[in-house]
């Protein structure tokens, strides 16, 4: 009996997913929500299956991933060095505190009309939007990380006559890496949201544009299938960044503790 219960316990996540899918099927088939507004689960999955066999779908997926990756890369290349400078110099940190505090909470979506008129409806706009959104969490995390470097370690390095560059490379950067990794994880989610947003609203090719087109033609099944796929893309990117973070931080106590728990 106990063995049976423990097997049941291990199956909880699976059962929970199956139950949710069954509920979806039932709500639609029973007409609680009209099938024109909520296609049944099986209909949606079948539509997704058809999409997966088309080259167009994979091409669109690849374009969205490209916008995400480029945006995140641009944000990282800018945010990490700027964050190190602003974090290590009290003067620079204070000088840019107000502009950062002001720009950070601005919803990047508000920049879409401006991008229409300046960069145009192309990859540049998508990358700009994704990079703009992803920049702030990374910048703030890097600044926190640099400020949190153990002063004794820095003083020790100095008393060993390590130059400023070597101190940066051997002390500041390694102890900032966990913060940067956290920033990357947050920023990667933001970058995906904004890449998709740019595609949906600006008609830049990718999954977002595909969804916009499906909406314009009233292809409800396709809308749901694309949303389902986009959710899985989000999960895949989340799993990927978490794995990268774990790998980059194998040496760090925060990861070792997680194993011990």
């Amino acid at each position: 009996m106990r063995r049976f219960l423990s097997i049941l316990d291990a199956l909880i996540p699976v059962l929970s997913i199956v139950a949710a899918l069954a509920l979806w099927e039932f709500v639609s088939r029973a007409g609680i929500i009209d099938e024109r507004d909520l296609p049944a689960m099986t209909t949606t999955v079948r539509e997704l299956w058809h999409l997966l066999q088309t080259g167009a779908f994979w091409h669109q997926l690849l374009l969205t991933v490209r916008g995400w990756a480029l945006g995140l890369a641009v944000a990282t290349v800018l945010a990490v060095p700027i964050g190190i400078v602003l974090g290590s110099s009290d003067l620079a940190g204070r000088a840019f505190r107000v502009p950062i505090e002001f720009l950070r909470p601005i919803p990047s979506a508000a920049l879409i009309p401006l991008l229409f008129l300046t960069l145009g409806t192309n990859l540049k706009s998508e990358v700009f939007l994704a990079a703009f959104g992803a920049f702030w969490p990374l910048l703030v995390q890097t600044m926190y990380g640099v400020r949190d470097v153990d002063p004794v370690a820095l003083d020790t390095a100095r008393s060993f006559r390590l130059g400023p560059l070597e101190r940066l490379y051997r002390v500041t950067l390694p102890s900032t890496v966990p913060y940067i990794a956290t920033g990357l994880r947050i920023s990667s989610t933001v970058a995906l949201i904004l890449a998709f947003t740019a595609e949906l609203f600006m008609g830049i090719p990718g999954l977002g544009q595909a969804m916009n087109v499906a909406g314009a033609f009233g292809l409800t099944d396709t809308i749901y299938a694309l949303a389902l796929a986009t959710g899985f893309l989000g999960v895949a990117i989340h799993v990927f960044t978490t794995a990268v973070e774990k790998r980059a931080l194998r040496w760090h106590p925060s990861q070792r503790q997680e194993v011990a728990l």
Partner: protein, 253 residues
């Protein structure tokens, strides 16, 4: 010197913007002073009630509903391992979903492009940061606290109310802050997707009709709204978490 820099740099940035836009003569980049005059004419406060108030209502209603659901689900899930195992696949999926992917679906399901659709959409995505932080906050409670309370014979309800919730509260506040910032972004997206009023709508219409100065004024307005909402939240947080910081400061290192 340092405080001087804290004032001088923002002023210098604004001055550079004004000087550059004044010399560039680009219709796409109107002068900063022109934008600010337009901003005052439109938003202080002739169109405030017509467009800003509906947007604020959507943000606050969506945020309030989403946060309540997040905390209400987070408490039992934080306390029950089985519950968490059952809920986690769903939470992981929905929190990884890019919100704009559900915009067309939200219109289909709500049968409207009005407040109902917008508030439901904002509320749905506000749930997850609060939910995840409530779960994490409850799981992070010092077990000694709970055990002590139990050994004093404090009943479960009281334990949750007096020990579990206060201990998780700082982390719940962290989740609320993330959700509120998200609510502002969702507001712009929903109004930009389909609406008949609100600041996102004004932004869309002024862009579509090439009214560039009002468009810039609307961008500035959304920036100011995002900033002010965050600022007010920090004030509230400082107040309601004052006990927590005082308590932390009193602890030996």
């Amino acid at each position: 010197m340092k405080i001087g820099a804290e004032i001088a740099v923002p002023v210098a940035i604004l001055l550079a913007w004004q000087l550059w836009t004044a010399s560039a003569h680009q219709p796409r980049f109107p002068r900063l002073s022109t934008i600010l005059v337009q901003f005052r004419e439109l938003w202080l406060f002739s169109q405030f009630g017509e467009h800003v108030v509906p947007s604020l209502v959507r943000i606050l209603a969506g945020f309030a509903i989403g946060s309540l659901i997040g905390v209400a689900l987070g408490i039992p899930l934080g306390l029950s391992t089985r519950g968490r195992r059952a809920a986690m696949p769903h939470i992981e999926y929905w929190r990884a979903m890019p919100p704009p992917a559900l915009l067309p679906i939200s219109v289909l399901l709500a049968h409207s492009i009005g407040d109902r659709q917008k508030i439901a959409f904002i509320a749905f995505f506000c749930i997850f940061p609060v939910l995840l932080n409530t779960i994490a906050g409850i799981r992070g409670i010092d077990p000694t606290l709970v055990d002590t309370a139990r050994s004093y014979g404090i009943p479960r309800r009281e334990r949750i109310r007096r020990i579990v919730l206060p201990a998780a509260f700082p982390q719940i506040m962290a989740g609320l802050r993330v959700s509120l910032a998200l609510a502002v972004i969702m507001m712009v997206l929903t109004e930009y997707f389909s609406s008949t009023n609100g600041v996102g709508y004004v932004l869309l219409i002024s862009k579509n009709t090439f009214q560039l100065v009002p468009m810039w004024a609307a961008i500035v307005l959304i920036g100011v709204l995002g900033y002010l909402i965050n600022f007010v939240f920090l004030l509230v947080e400082r107040r309601v978490l004052a006990w927590h910081r005082g308590w932390r400061a009193a602890l030996p290192d």
